[in-house]
Amino acid sequence: MLGDWYHHMKITKWKAEVSLFALFAAGSVAMFLAAMRLPKAYNPSDPGSALFPELIATGLLMISAVICIQCFRARSVQEQVEITRPMKVALLLVTTLIYVASMNATGYLLSTGLWAAVSAVALGFRRIWPVLLIVGFFLLLGKYLFEGILGVPLP
C-alpha cells in the first residue's frame, strides 16, 4: 500500500479543483473587504485606490463560483490528478524550504552545498564523490560569478 503511494499518488480531480477554487472565492472576499478599508482619494475626479481591487475581487468571486459549480457538476467523470514519485517531490520541497530558511544563518556556500548534496542523494544518485565534486564546482562558480564578476553579494 505504502509502496504504491510512494510511486504514484492519485487525487480525485473535481475535489481538488473545488477546494482550489473555493480558496480563490474566499481570498476574493478577503480582498474585497480589505479594499473597502482603503482610504478615499484626495482628488474628487480620481476613482480611488479601492476601485480596481474591488472590481478584481468581484470578478474573481464570480468566476471561482462558476468554475466550482462546473467542477461539481462534472464529478461523475471521475478524472484523477496523478502525481508520479510524490515522496521525491515532497522531499525536494521540504529540503528546499529548510535550505532557504537556513541560508541567512549558515551562508550561501554551506547551505547550498549541503542542500544540493542531500537533494541529489535523496533523488537517487548513489555515487557520492561525483555528486560532491559537481556540487563543489558549481558552488564556487556561482560564488565567483555573482560576487566576483557581477558584484552581487550572496548571504
Binding site: 482603503l38 475626479s45 480596481f52 490528478v81 508520479t84 525536494l92 528546499t96 544540493a116 537517487g124
Partner: protein
Amino acid sequence: MDIIVSCFSAVGHVLTSVTILFVLLGGILGYIGGAIPGISASIALGLLVPLTFGINPNLAIPMLVSVYMGAEYAGSIPAILINAPGTPGAVATAFDGNRMAKNGQAGLALLFSISASAIGSLISTLLLIITAAYVANVALAFGPAEFFWVAMLGLSLVSILGSTHRLRSLLAALLGLGVAMIGIDPITGMGRFTFMPQLLSGIPLLPVLIGLFAFSEALEMVGTPDRALSSGKAAVIEGRYFPPFDKLFRIWPTLLKGSVIGYIIGAIPGAGTTIASFVSYAEAKRASKDPDSFGKGNYEGVAASECANNAAVAGVIGPLLALGIPGSASAAILIGALKLYGLQPGPLLFQNNPTMPYIIFASLLLGVPILFAIGVLGARLWARVVLIPRDLLAVVVIGLSVVGSYASNNDMFSVWVMLLFGVIGYVFRKLDVPLAPLVLAMVLGSMAETNFRRAEIIGHDQISYLVASPMSVSLMLLTGIMLLLPFLGPILRRIVPKLRGRVASQHDVE
C-alpha cells in the same frame, strides 16, 4: 531620418567583438535550455536574467534576446530526436521530425529545422524593423484612455487565446491583476495591501516568474519519469551533415508563408509560438500537392513549423517594444529585464532611449547567422544534452532559482516569493490553470489601472473621456468582442442550426 541614424548607431554598437561574444554566449545557453525537454525559453530566460545583473544593458539585452532565439531554435532538437518537444512551439515539429529520425534521417531533419528557423527569424526581424517604429510612432499620440484600452485588449487576448480553459485563464489573469495591486498606489502614493514593509514596493516580478516557470517545472521534472533515458538513447546523427539548400529553395513559398504567419500570430498577445507553428503546419499541408505525406516524415512539415515558431519571436518583441505589452511569458521576462535597467518598454522607449530598440533589432539580425552556426556545428553535442538526467537538472534549476531570486533584489523575501509562486505554479499545472495569463496580467495590471485613473482625472470624472477618440472606441470594441467570444461561440452554435432549420422549413412550406 532619426530612424536611420538610430539604425546605424545600433548596428555599429552590435558589431563589436564583445557584443558578438555575448550574443554567442546567449545563443549557446539558449540552445542548452531549448534542447532540454521541460526547459522552455521562458525558464531559460528567467534563470539567466539574474546572471546579467551588473552587465551593461547594451550587452545584457542582446544576450537575453539571443537566449530567447536560441531556446526556440533548439526546441526542435528533442522534438526530432526523442519526440519530446523542448519548447511548446516545437510540438508540430515532432509530427514529421521524429518520423524522419526514425527513418534514419535525424541529421537531415535537424538541418531542416535549423535552416528554416534561421529563414523565419530573418524575414520576421525585417518585418519587425519595418513595423515596430511605425506602430510606436502612432502610439506616441496615445493618451491615458488609449493606453487603458490597449492594456485591456492585451488582457482580454491573453485570457482568451492560447488556452482551451478560458474561464481558468480569466481567473489566472484576475489573480495576476490582484497581485499587481499590492504595493504603493500609483496615483495617491499610499500603501495598498502592504501588510509588511517588504510589500511596499509590490510583489517583485522576476522571483514570481522564476517561481512560476522554473521552480514549478523542476518539481514537475522530479515527478515525471525520464523518457529520454528510459527509452535508451536519442536518435543518432550520422553521415554527411550540410544544410540542404536545394530542397529548402524548393519549398520557399512555405517558408515565406510560415514566416509571415509566425510574425503576425506572434504579435497577437497570448497567441504565441505554439499556435503560430500549428497554423503554419496546417497551411503547408493544405497547400501541398501531397498532403498525405505530412505526419509521415515530410521535411516540409518540419520547415513550416520551425519557420513559424521562430518568426513568432520577432512578432512577440514587436508589441513589447512598441506598446509595452508582453505577448508571452518570455516577453514578460524581457520586460522585467528592461525595467531592471531602468528602461520602460513602450512608445516612449523609442523617444527616450532610441538606440535600445534598434540594438534589439540588430541583435536579432546578428543572432541569425550565429544561431545557425551554433546549430549546425554543435548538432551532435545538442543531441547529447537531450539525455541529461531530469533529477539532476531539477536540482540545478532549483539551485539557480534560489540564487537568482536572491540576487534580483538582494533579499530573502524575493526567495520566499519565488517559492510561494513555485508551489502555486505546480498546483496550477496539475489542475489545468494556465500560468501565462497570471504573469501577463501582473505586467499589464498597473498599466491598466494607472491609465484608467489618469483618464478619469483628466476627464474630470467623466467616463465618456475613455471613449472620446476613434482609436479608444475601436480598441474598446475589440476588447468587448474578445471578452464575449468564448460565451458567444456556444450560443451561436446552438442558435445557428435552429435558424437554419426554420429557414429550411419555411422554404419547404413555400
